[in-house]
Symmetry: C2
Subunit: 324 residues, 2 copies
């Protein structure tokens, strides 16, 4: 199944979600409302709400709290994207100029904070304390993961273990939160919640490895960020390169690190690309992402078969085979 077909299974829910999401981020301040409407135009893939709904349906009946859970994670995700664009000085987001490029950094940081507050209020006003407990630890992990990534980019010495720590925290934590919130919205079973939390964690790791592979092999990107070996330019060492460095002669690895340290241009990108291929960094990473996807799928084994279980399995396969 492609992403579109999976989304179709919960098309009704996603449509109703749009309405709730829109209403949750309203403001009486004119400029806030203008930016909010702009955010609603930057249509994302809604992967996180999709995971909330599928996880919820896997465990029981989707209900009002499920919608609020989905809105909470999407609001939170949107806030972090806005902050990311400020710090990365990104000009484009989802095919449209980024908030910071239209309204400057100050309004963008504040809009991120505003959205965090609105997400919080949505849960607090409805006594969704369980959601908040699940979610807030992932906010901590997201910021810690990204700061660890910065720390390592300075020393250029990320090893595989550190890489997995970084991507678990910065990416998998929120994916895992989506699945657990979905479960918590429709079942009291802590066992179900635990399995979906672990499913999300493995899925999130697989997702990020695939993203890091795509940074090397190129995305078929119709909208959004420009692609092509941008991580190395930011001095981020990701799995394909970490594997190649580990498995190449030390002298060659050091010369590659020296190139990265000095800042790379187009010809340097070609050298790094060839280096990663020579030492099987892509093959290894593809294998690794598939291993995590398989672990994710095995986390679902306790659930009886259903269209929703099949959809989560299909989504997992999609994540590690996608080209954009």
């Amino acid at each position: 199944m492609a992403l579109k077909e999976i989304s179709k299974i919960i098309a009704k829910e996603l449509k109703q979600f749009d309405e709730i999401f829109k209403n949750s981020i309203r403001s009486k301040i004119f400029l806030v409302d203008v930016i909010t409407k702009y955010i609603l135009k930057q249509k994302g893939k809604k992967i996180r709400p999709l995971l909330v709904f599928l996880s919820s349906k896997l465990c029981g009946e989707t209900n009002e709290t499920t919608y609020r859970g989905a809105a909470l994670v999407e609001i939170l995700h949107t806030a972090t994207l806005i902050h990311d664009d400020v710090v990365d000085e990104a000009n484009v987001r989802r095919g449209l100029p980024s908030i910071n490029s239209v309204w400057k950094n100050k309004a963008a940081v504040l809009m991120g904070d505003f959205l965090l507050a609105k997400g919080l209020l949505l849960s607090l006003d409805n006594d969704d304390f369980t959601f908040l407990k699940i979610m807030s630890d992932s906010v901590r992990r997201m910021s810690e993961g990204e700061i660890l990534e910065i720390e390592k980019s300075k020393s250029l010495n990320t090893d595989e273990k550190t890489y997995f720590k970084i991507i678990s925290d910065k990416t998998a934590s929120l994916i895992s939160t989506c699945c657990e919130i979905g479960a918590a919205s429709s079942t009291n079973s802590l066992e179900y919640r635990k399995h979906l939390r672990e499913f999300g964690e493995n899925l999130g790791i697989a997702f990020q490895i695939r993203d890091d592979i795509l940074d090397f092999i190129g995305k078929k990107n119709l909208m959004g960020k420009p692609t092509g070996i941008s991580d190395v330019g930011d001095k981020k060492l990701t799995l394909p390169l970490i594997h190649a460095i580990k498995n190449s002669p030390k002298i060659e690895a050091n010369s590659i690190l020296k190139i990265i340290k000095n800042g790379i241009d187009k010809s340097a990108k070609k050298i790094i690309y060839d280096f990663v291929h020579t030492y099987k960094g892509i093959d290894y990473s593809i294998k690794s992402s598939i291993e995590f996807a398989e672990m994710a799928k095995s986390n679902l084994s306790i659930f009886p078969n259903s269209i929703y279980k099949q959809s989560l399995i299909a989504f997992t396969d999609f994540v590690v085979s996608r080209v954009s």
Copy 2:
């Protein structure tokens, strides 16, 4: 009483607070911990914890939850200061280089997010849901108030009503939250909470007016930000100037607005300073800040007399007479 003397009354609590604050923002990530330790070196005046403790003692016994409430507001305040410094490109905070100037914008935005998450976790882990409800609406107001300020700085048409809306939201909301959280930590009386919330709101407005006056007349600033008519340079119209514009001949007001629009230099600052004085902008603002201080004090009238009540009154008087 000066601020030092007021602080002495709850010196024991403030000392214990330091320990709890420090422990609440710890991290296992090396760089996060390094930045955290740096934040602890940037000693602030701890005005917000002070208000939490005094409000709590006014209503009953200070207890464990009071400390967590004080830590919550100080963590939140610290997070917003870090984000503020990023967006204002400030190089100095509390006499030390700012986080963004030492570790760059990316780490600074993420540290702000990390602190917000840690504040949230501190309350969630202890089921302090009442605190969260009181606090999260003030996070929304803080970001909305600052965005409204940006909106108005573009059109240069802030009137007195809008000015009070901006400063209530961006400054008074958190001060009010401090006082209400203090009350909520030691009493179940909604009446007491309401009075302290309103006290904080009026105190916060008086506080911000005084800040805006000091921007014109100069601060005796030993540590922290450089002073001297910086708001007008940012195209922020504050009460002294708003009053002068309203009470001057239209032709003169327009010429001042034109100067501000074109970006001001040293000689322009002198012209604006004289204009504000000529049309009694400072006198009017001093009067206004005192009026809000008086309203704040009258919000305390339902409380029996005590050293804590006297301290809050003294603090209010200090706020509108301070020179830094």
